[in-house]
Point group: C2
Chain length 565, copies 2
Amino acid sequence: MNHPGTGIAPWNNRARRRAQRLARAAEALGPALGGDCGGKRVATASAVALLSAVIESGDRVCLEGNNQKQADFLAKALVQLDPAQVNDLHMVQSVISLPEHLDVFENGIASRLDFSFSGPQGGRLAKLLSQGRLSIGAIHTYLELFGRYFVDLTPQVALVAAHSVDAEGNLYTGANTEDTPVIAEATAFSGGILVAQVNEVVDKVPRVDIPAGWVDFVVQAPRPNLIEPLFTRDPAQISEIQVLMAMMAIKGIYAEYGVQRLNHGIGFDTAAIELLLPTYAESLGLKGKICRHWALNPHPALIPAIEAGWVQSIHSFGSELGMEDYIRARSDVFFTGADGSLRSNRAFCQAAGHYACDLFIGSTLQMDLAGNSSTATAGRITGFGGAPNMGADARGRRHSSPAWLKAGREARDGLGGARGTPRGQKLVVQMVETFREHMQPAFVETLDAWELARQAKMDLPPVMIYGEDVTHVLTEEGIANLLLCRTDEEREQAIRGVAGYTPVGLARDRRMVENLRDRGVIRRPADLGVDVRLATRNLLAARSMRELSLASGGLYRPPARFRNW
Amino acid sequence: MNHPGTGIAPWNNRARRRAQRLARAAEALGPALGGDCGGKRVATASAVALLSAVIESGDRVCLEGNNQKQADFLAKALVQLDPAQVNDLHMVQSVISLPEHLDVFENGIASRLDFSFSGPQGGRLAKLLSQGRLSIGAIHTYLELFGRYFVDLTPQVALVAAHSVDAEGNLYTGANTEDTPVIAEATAFSGGILVAQVNEVVDKVPRVDIPAGWVDFVVQAPRPNLIEPLFTRDPAQISEIQVLMAMMAIKGIYAEYGVQRLNHGIGFDTAAIELLLPTYAESLGLKGKICRHWALNPHPALIPAIEAGWVQSIHSFGSELGMEDYIRARSDVFFTGADGSLRSNRAFCQAAGHYACDLFIGSTLQMDLAGNSSTATAGRITGFGGAPNMGADARGRRHSSPAWLKAGREARDGLGGARGTPRGQKLVVQMVETFREHMQPAFVETLDAWELARQAKMDLPPVMIYGEDVTHVLTEEGIANLLLCRTDEEREQAIRGVAGYTPVGLARDRRMVENLRDRGVIRRPADLGVDVRLATRNLLAARSMRELSLASGGLYRPPARFRNW
């Protein structure tokens, strides 16, 4: 729409379109748009009518959902729109995890997708893509997607989830604050429409997470929003190999660099590390010297370390089911509100993980000989959530710490020019058993990501962590310190040298690998003084869910599916 | 304090200490702790008594202030504390810019400092440091410091600035929201005490920026908080050399890479680019092809481009004085609230600058032959604010764009191994005249930062942008594309080749420089098809403050000091 004859757009388009949407909603809803919650409340049965009124074809729509909290009721409502009336939506959202997240594409309501992660729906997503039912803009790391919400992917409509709403329309997200603040801010301050589903309508919320003035419509969902306990790992399933690898991580990396501030990826490998802090790490005299500050969800596996006084602070992306009472009682460690419950915040925790941590450690499915790793496999489009952000050297960082300086020195020693200019480096550790499920080798000549990129016509193969950013590869065979490698060949042999009996490992140059071991680039358990005979499950501070709960003084109440005692 | 005999800390220390602080405040203030603003209001005259009551020796105290908004009244109150009672404070704050920010160290109230930027106070800071009056933890980029607020630099007390407070205690920050949300969140959810100074007490705020529940105390300041119009550049002061450099930036970089999303540093160099968009760039047919989305404060110099329909969105770190009415009338472009005023947010805008922009362009004072640049000079400790964050390759980024892919291809073409793995790269341009004020050469063999690091016993020299991250160096002599350099020597000669008549430039290897020019590594105005004769001030879309105001239809009202007509 142009000013007649000028070719220049008139102004106040956003305000006008917003007013039109609100007017359509008022007309469509009539008495279903209640007087309570500051006049923002919409009857549950009218959710579809609401979305039909406020969403226009071609809109960018942000549907909240991460790997924990899901705006599942609004997702179900969205699917019921009439594609003849609303179509060509551009979905911008953290996670593709509910069937409805893809139904909108199958139904012809949406056509374009920008996202970060799609674990369980990765196969179906790849299929829909190959059928031409949607186009993918890009797969992001969370903070990157949030950043684009303020630049070129600003939502016209956002559908979020909160725990409760009060009489004025203020939202309480409770422990799973997660992505809500950043989505709400990007939408509410750009003339967008913010719709929230809530579990409860109350007179006064325990605390205000999102002010009423930022919210346009509130709908009570017929059942509480879905929350997945995704970060719970049953210690009973930790293997002795994982105990051994955790010992190596503690002695060979955490102690070596004096890592105080860190993030752990999700999985049994890192759960084992958490459970060895009050036992093995304590026996090495490391208490107070490592692992004091965390950017981490409330992992139940960290309870014994917290109880033993190892942990000074934990800031979280989201919460974890069953941890509510424990968090409330340990507000010295967790970030909690006046109501005693967690205030998580994925955007700020990702910023902290990127810039305020010295180490990221996580697992992968595949690694190539350059050290590039990926969990992407052919036929599935997954994305990597927060890993690319936390598993990348934060090159804007300027504050130093002993860990960061030592890593930087190791990487740059002997180099000249720009690459030799002194600067620190983040420790990025990939922890992986040489064989994964079904005896698939974790080390490969070529990542499946390349084939996937061809299939899905991606600009680049979906690499989770680039070899350039990985500092250490840790397997049951030992640790390869890539910081000390000076040539592509050294790096390749360092990786082969810890790749065990995989074809890649067997093809090692034995002499070069021994030379790398002499130089400390490769370190075996014996080189680290790690006694393999100690690597038993007895070393775990808790060996079962029951022991975790006991360690918490009964404050941690695992969800039913984990209550195996 | 330990549980007797156990060696284990008891829990609820934070809650207990918080309750003690609140009780001391209630006792000290008595009737000065008013019943209004949700019972949070403290009489102006009691500000010092309040801070004495809530701050304890050794506390980490965050004093809000960035390069625009300042919690100046609370800064003045802090200085008046009795160092015999309160001392050894650890100040954590974005900017050292008011005299009071250093008075607290001179007075013996504070002893440790973590910060990001200290423009005008850099000399005095260096002096105090050399006198042993304070120790500096580190100098950060903003987002990094914010990240640490959630990890190891969480404030026990935060002193922030807002525009107004309502009867319940909700805060309205208005256009200069800036750092307040991130400081408030880190403090309010960790058992800290949040004190806000406000300009006005009102019945109802125009919008809620910080919910009342996050706020502990509110004090009305005797005068409005200080705000500096730091991003206003008078077009009258733009030189013809700057016009020429801006032409090269547009034709040789923006058009070449198709840069759509970007951040501009502060200064006349980039103001010139902004003022050439509707003239020179328009004549090249670039409208709609470059510069559509910005992470940028509301630069007045961008008004002509906005009016000509060049700009689709601008998200801002802070606001700019005089731009209020213009922003309100251009809410299609700026992020504004329901009240019509800007909602800036430094944390989110820095995240956007890091992850959602393809290009950062800024100026520097010095660059060495590896491409490392710094504005640090001997005898002054300044820090770099947001530049390290935006002027670094965002290695966690996974979404692609033509600009980012092309830069990545250029950097990696022909390389193998980890460095050769395809990935994109951010464009980071340093724009600098070969000689700066007082005929000081901008290109040097060794940065002053090295000497400063020795003086101040820093772990690393304070480099603003590392050579590894710089992609282009732009001077009046031409553009050096460092992405295409494959050796340290090529990089050095590429830099010498645009370093003009500086000693560094004169010492170039002429043959090698000509070779680099043949390869397109160095490009002169003629190589770019930039007609030097056109580089006059006539090319600027506005040549004075008056013309800027006219271009805005009178909506932009420059502060008095810029009203020179």
